[in-house]
Amino acid sequence: MDESAQAKTHRDYTGSKIGMWLFLISEVFFFFGPFLLYSVFRYRFPSEFSAGSRELDLFLGTLNTALLLTSSLFVAVSVSAVKRGNRNLAAFLLVLTVLFGLAFLFNKYTEWDARITGGVYPGSAALLQQGKGKVIFYGLYFFMTGFHGLHVLAGVVLMGFMAVFVMTGAVRQGDFIKLENSGLYWHLVDIIWIYLFPLFYLVS
């Protein structure tokens, strides 16, 4: 008997999943730092944060929330679909997720463009004139939504790969941990936005 032909690739479904959860928890710690900063400075500059919030586009912010929540639905269903062997549904939903993620990023670009062409960006003269509170609000806004946006971009690339893997069979009914872990990442990105949205768009 050929021993090497018998040797199976070592797989550790449980270990893979635990590893992914640990990574995600570390990501939460990372984002929590700026959230803490935000809370302290909002406490110190309540009216400036409120004014800054009113300058943001609530419609786009709400739309982006809906886009991410719906794409999370797509990802969750795609995992169940793969478990049931429904390859086409899973791939279709993952492609939709990529499109929704790109739509989110396009909206983000639109919002940033409106700020920047209006002269409001970190270090700009127009912003510095508006005082410390506004400077801090927009500093946090650009940093947090920017860093989150990078995470969305990484997620979009990841989901693109997963769509391909589902079609090639690298992700299949008997081996889907790559998709599950990618899904966990995407849901975390969604959760971060669930908090970012009220923090920046809903300050009354």
Binding site: K17, L22, L69, H187, S204
Partner: protein
């Protein structure tokens, strides 16, 4: 030895219901922020956000059906966050 891979598959309908709840809570959050004022309008969007997060964690991220070790990790993470916040606020508020 074949490892027992997650036998539990969540039905599509459950996911759709959770999604509907999330959309409804998003609508509620915007409504509350526009209608209420004062301390309540600060806290309530965050409470609603936490409920939404709980739904995403439990169902979309499958945490409700995961082994206890992973639930303990998440609880520990939340505990560490609470302690960190408490330490920072103790510093900031008493300067």
């Amino acid at each position: 030895m074949e490892e027992k891979i997650s036998p539990h598959t969540v039905r599509y309908t459950v996911f759709v219901l959770v999604w509907a709840g999330l959309i409804a809570l998003t609508w509620l959050t915007v409504k509350v922020a526009k209608t209420w004022s004062g301390a309540l309008s600060v806290v309530s969007p965050l409470i609603i956000a936490s409920v939404k997060t709980g739904l995403v964690l439990a169902f979309f991220m499958h945490l409700k059906y995961e082994r206890r070790l992973i639930k303990i990790f998440c609880a520990a993470g939340i505990g560490i966050i609470i302690i960190t916040a408490w330490l920072v606020y103790s510093d900031v508020l008493y300067r």
